[in-house]
Symmetry: C2
């Protein structure tokens, strides 16, 4: 049995946090492969090492003196080494880094050093082998992640060692130059490692005890979600990104490996299990509620549109031609509404409208802004009659005007459109009816 | 003030019905322009004159003896003439028809004679001028209705006469050959005439007292609809076609002329007013419920589909390329469902699926059949909170499983998908909550 364990930046911000992580890893012999992030903030006023590295490299690239900045970074690591009583020096590493910075090795290289150095410390602390991610995780010349080469190299490399630390966030091009994933990309590294070795579980240790039923900024201490399916999580993507990087799902999902989101500061909490499918019922009818403000609705009217083959395609073509993706397309008989992200749409609004007129020749186009979309998601909804009735009764009771409803035949979710100003009350109303009142 | 009055076949099936029509027209001096259909069925076992004409002409075209059939048609008209005590002979007309049939003048010509002859009788009976539709209603060489030429000719011709009868259902090509509208097309003629003379109202006299809130085959004696907007009627099109031809709306709508559906057999009933817009509230929150069985849902899944610009367009393209129109496209985050007519889709199912895979490269395509769509429509829904809550609570209470929900931001309607077998109970549940209980 092998568990791949990834630790986020706040779990590795200090020697004290490192010790918690050490305890967690040593408490379970199956936690054989460790993916660390760079040290995060020790308190709310602190700076993440990754941000220090970006700033330091920017100075280097501008030809300014960056010694003091680099020294501050080194101090962060030395503080950890000292706190852990390790016999380890990063002198040589920092000499190389300073040289590379002077030679303008790029901000990808610079940023990646946060994880790289933390990985060396973690390996020394645990007595695990250090495997540089640049030797096992690859990108092709177009900058796309090279699944096949990575999988092959990584699985062969990890056959040679039982216990290893592989730093998160980066890999390398064919020629060895370092390239990073997008911010939060250590989640992806963990998932890739788990997929490559066909791990039994991918534990993602962070500073919260998993996903919550609703946004804690809107709902006071909402309960956690025990088990969520990959599909439910995707449907709740409006809330997901802060806990787990969206791209971290696919490598493990393909191999049927569950993800367990855990809390380093509260290691006894079971956290949230993200699984392919489950017969386990969720505690409530709904698994979660998530939403987002800032959508526009483009309403299109045309007499007899549904008997005009190609009309819908032409409407979507008008958005595609202008590089706009859409969220939902609810429709009546002679009306069709396209929901788009307001910030993406705003600049291109008039171009889209003229494309619409040119391609689809509608009778009327009308744009509404400042709308919010709310996804109510739950595998339990299909087998529970009356979910929709409860949702809309609760919204009516809360004086929320429902501007759009969309439920496909997966019956996994209902998408509701409301105005931005009704967003919080709508979420509260739905939460209350399913979690507080449990009607 | 001018009213255009159109009478359907059952209103003109016999001399007795003609007399009712005469009374109606004479009771209001503004009923100046009359559009008659061909004589319909006198009782449930009878044959419509139009069907007799099609059959007679089919015999003529096959080179068979059609004299007896033509004689039976003539007898229908002579019975009416005799019953109305008119001094009118159709001998010459029938000689021409017999000759044209022998010369294979076409089934359009043949079918049009039903209205033509009825128009002659109606004009004689009322003392109105007869205006042959072939001289005022035009089609271009492609068989498309020629709006401009018709409008010009018709309005000029009708300036020369105060009171006229214009037979419904047909017009002519540039070269004078007769062409008919689709079945039920007298409704269109009436609308065209009303639009051309900018009538104050277009009265459409039939054998029901207007539109009903729900289908009387499912609901026992549902109430009538007093006033419905053009848009509401379109949204209820699943039920509309039997009362009024779909294409009859546009000519009058463009001119802002209301349509009044009336009952020849109950002329004191106010019937249903179809209007552009109204501040008149409907009696119930909903204006009507209509639905249709026989839809398929094509469920398409693809990870991250909503960030893939062009995905939705490619999905619809796959249907368009195979000549399939769609009804609704509800969507989740990684799922999209396309609702299509089962009978249209069945033969092309596998072609569409392979187009989908080729164009859009989905993770999964899954088809469900035997679904019904129900449209709950009402201009009152926007201003009444909780409509959706009531609908879905009622459906849950009736044990109906809701498979799809679609509400665009017009807030004029909610479209609900259920399985075919739940169709009637769903309609009853919605009807009860809004009309019977009026919660």
């Amino acid at each position: 049995m092998t568990k791949v364990v990834k630790f986020g930046g706040s779990s590795l911000a200090s020697a004290e946090q490192f010790m918690k992580v050490g305890d967690i890893i040593r408490s379970d012999a199956e936690r054989k492969l460790v993916v660390p992030s760079a040290p995060g903030k020790r308190d709310s006023k602190d700076t993440k090492v990754t941000d220090m590295l970006y700033a330091c490299y920017a100075a280097a690239e501008a030809g300014e003196d960056f010694k003091a900045q680099l020294k501050a970074i080194k101090a962060r690591y030395e503080e950890i080494i000292k706190g852990l009583h390790l016999d380890l020096s990063l002198e040589e590493e920092f000499k190389v880094i300073e040289k590379q910075f002077k030679e303008k090795a790029g901000d990808n290289y610079a940023a990646s050093r946060g994880e790289y150095l933390n990985g060396i410390i973690m390996a020394a602390y645990l007595g695990y082998e250090f495997v540089d991610a640049a030797t096992v995780i690859f990108f092709n010349d177009d900058g796309e992640f090279d699944t096949e080469k990575t999988k092959k190299t990584l699985s062969e490399r990890l056959k040679k060692t039982e216990r290893a630390v592989i730093p998160g966030f980066y890999g390398a091009y064919e020629d060895g130059r370092v390239k990073t994933f997008s911010r939060g990309g250590s989640d992806i590294t963990g998932s890739i490692v788990a997929g490559a070795v066909k791990a039994d579980v991918y534990e993602n240790w962070t500073d919260v005890s998993g996903f919550l039923v609703a946004d804690p900024r809107i709902i006071d201490t909402p309960p956690g979600i025990d088990t969520i399916t990959y599909r439910e999580l995707r449907e709740l993507s409006y809330m997901g990104a802060t806990v787990l990087h969206e791209d971290a799902i696919f490598p493990v999902r393909k191999e049927g490996i569950p993800i367990n989101i855990r809390n380093t500061n509260s290691p006894l909490d079971e956290g949230t299990w993200i699984v392919e499918s489950t017969c386990q019922k969720s505690k409530y009818v709904i698994t979660g509620i998530a939403g987002k403000k800032g959508f526009c609705a483009v309403n299109i009217e045309k007499d007899m549109m549904n008997s005009e083959i190609g009309f819908g395609r032409k409407v979507l073509q008008s958005f595609e031609d202008n590089g706009i993706s859409f969220e939902h397309v609810p429709s009546g008989i002679d009306t069709m509404t396209v929901f788009v992200h307001q910030d993406e749409f705003m600049d291109k609004e008039q171009k889209v409208v003229s494309s619409l007129h040119r391609l689809a020749d509608p009778d009327m186009v009308d744009i509404e802004s400042d709308l919010a979309l709310i996804a109510v998601v739950g595998r339990g909804m299909k087998s529970t009659r009356g979910t929709a009735g409860r949702i809309f009764s609760a919204l009516a009771h809360a004086n929320v005007n429902v501007r759009m409803i969309d439920q496909g035949s997966s019956e996994l979710n209902i998408i509701i459109g409301v105005s931005d100003e009704d967003f919080e009350s709508a979420i509260r109303a739905i939460y209350n009816i399913f979690v507080e009142v449990q009607l």
